[in-house]
Symmetry: C2
Subunit: 224 residues, 2 copies
DNA sequence: ATAATGCTTCGGCTAGCATCGAAGTATGAA
DNA sequence: TTCATACTTCGATGCTAGCCGAAGCATTAT
């Protein structure tokens, strides 16, 4: 029975975390639920078996998201019932809205700005994006060399692709990973357009006023 | 959490039984769930505490029904998810459709015909029906005396009202109980319009061809 | 290669909860 | 009144399932 899956508090916490439309790693879900990774692993296997969530492998991470909008729908209705019965479960949105805007995803930029950057690159035909595959175009190489002093040879790596689509959990869309994604983030840091938050463990990336302007000039949103 | 309530198999069976829109007694729900009455009592208390079901006392019975259309909605969606995951839960409708049409409710007529009778009586202004209260009108007294030879003094009883609204679980609406309800059923039997099913424990009431005609003449449905 | 990280599987422990028997209340019948 | 039925509460038992420690892949970093 599906309800039994949702009934367990640990699993309910996981699902509630996923309800925000983000995709989270197994470890992140473990701490959301307040259990150890091995316990979480068992729960996640059950949720997956019940068709409530779906995994997406990404390097040595395993991102989980809700399997379906229908699942989210049922969960919300369920939460609505609980609220009416007085068993309110507040669980307000994630802590930092800054995280949604810009953050480190391993070594590359994620968040709204990361998604926006990939969108812009596709629109400018710097890359071609089909499904999971992303290819750097010749125009893209020129663009990178001219504006950011990133040369193709800087991007070669024995076992890592230049471009890769990476699921962004705050925007629920893909942003750019791979050696190019890492190189871009590195350059942004070197140029002092952006800097990682000094707080230990924080994944927030803060853009400077000037940095934001330069970034927008290269990768501005569609409407701009 | 609400989902935990639905998660237990016994409770899930109870809710599924109630999902058909009927109201069932605690004992009936116990056998639906396949547990003893005392176990069922505990489950029902929890479901009531969670706001999923609501009791309606009726003599020494306790009828339970889903608290809200919303609850039914969520349960159906939940079942839909389960079906998609392959964990189909068939649970086809109740055994006898005859039960839905006409049956004994203690000593009076219930089922579609019971509901239809009360509707017709209201329409003919034989009774006034406001909320739970039903009052026999003067016209009603005349009608009963003329067509069924039921006199007002036959309906007096030390501790029982003449008219009472009784929740009909198959139609999910009220039918007529009280001494009048009992007297009507008694008269139908005497006139051989209807007879209780001979099977032991059966609550089915079978109408004869002629009985059905006479009944329809007095208490026909709105469209007729 | 070696080390480190992310995640899973295995095994044993424990808490919680469903379950039932028995006894207690409430309602109605005789 | 006394008896029967419907339902609940209490008390004790037993089983499920969540939990963690330790160990086992898998992937990536150095």
């Amino acid at each position: 029975m599906v309800a039994a899956l949702v009934g367990d508090p640990a699993r309910a916490n996981m699902l509630t975390a996923l309800l925000s439309g983000r995709a989270l790693t197994a470890t992140e879900l473990a701490q959301e639920a307040g259990v150890t990774p091995q316990t979480a692993s068992s729960h996640l296997a059950k949720l997956e078996g019940g068709g409530l969530i779906e995994p997406e492998k990404q390097g040595r991470h395993r991102y989980y998201r809700l399997a379906d909008p229908d699942v989210a729908d049922v969960l919300e209705k369920l939460a609505g019932l609980a609220a009416r019965a007085g068993h309110m479960r507040v669980r307000t949105g994630p802590k930092e809205p800054e995280l949604r805007r810009a953050r480190i995803c391993y070594d590359h930029l994620a968040g709204d700005l990361g998604v926006q950057m990939l969108d812009s690159m596709v629109r400018q035909k710097l890359v071609r994006h089909r499904k999971q595959e992303i290819i750097l175009t010749e125009e893209g190489e020129h663009f990178l060399a001219r504006h950011l002093r990133i040369s193709p040879e800087m991007l070669t790596h024995p076992r890592r692709p230049v471009c890769k689509a990476c699921l962004d959990w705050s925007a629920r869309r893909h942003h750019l990973a791979g050696t190019l994604g890492a190189a871009l983030m590195k350059r942004f840091t070197e140029l002092k357009w952006a800097a990682r938050d000094t707080t230990a463990g924080s994944r927030v990336v803060n853009f400077s006023r000037a940095g934001e302007k330069h970034f927008a000039a290269l990768f501005g949103a569609a409407g701009d």
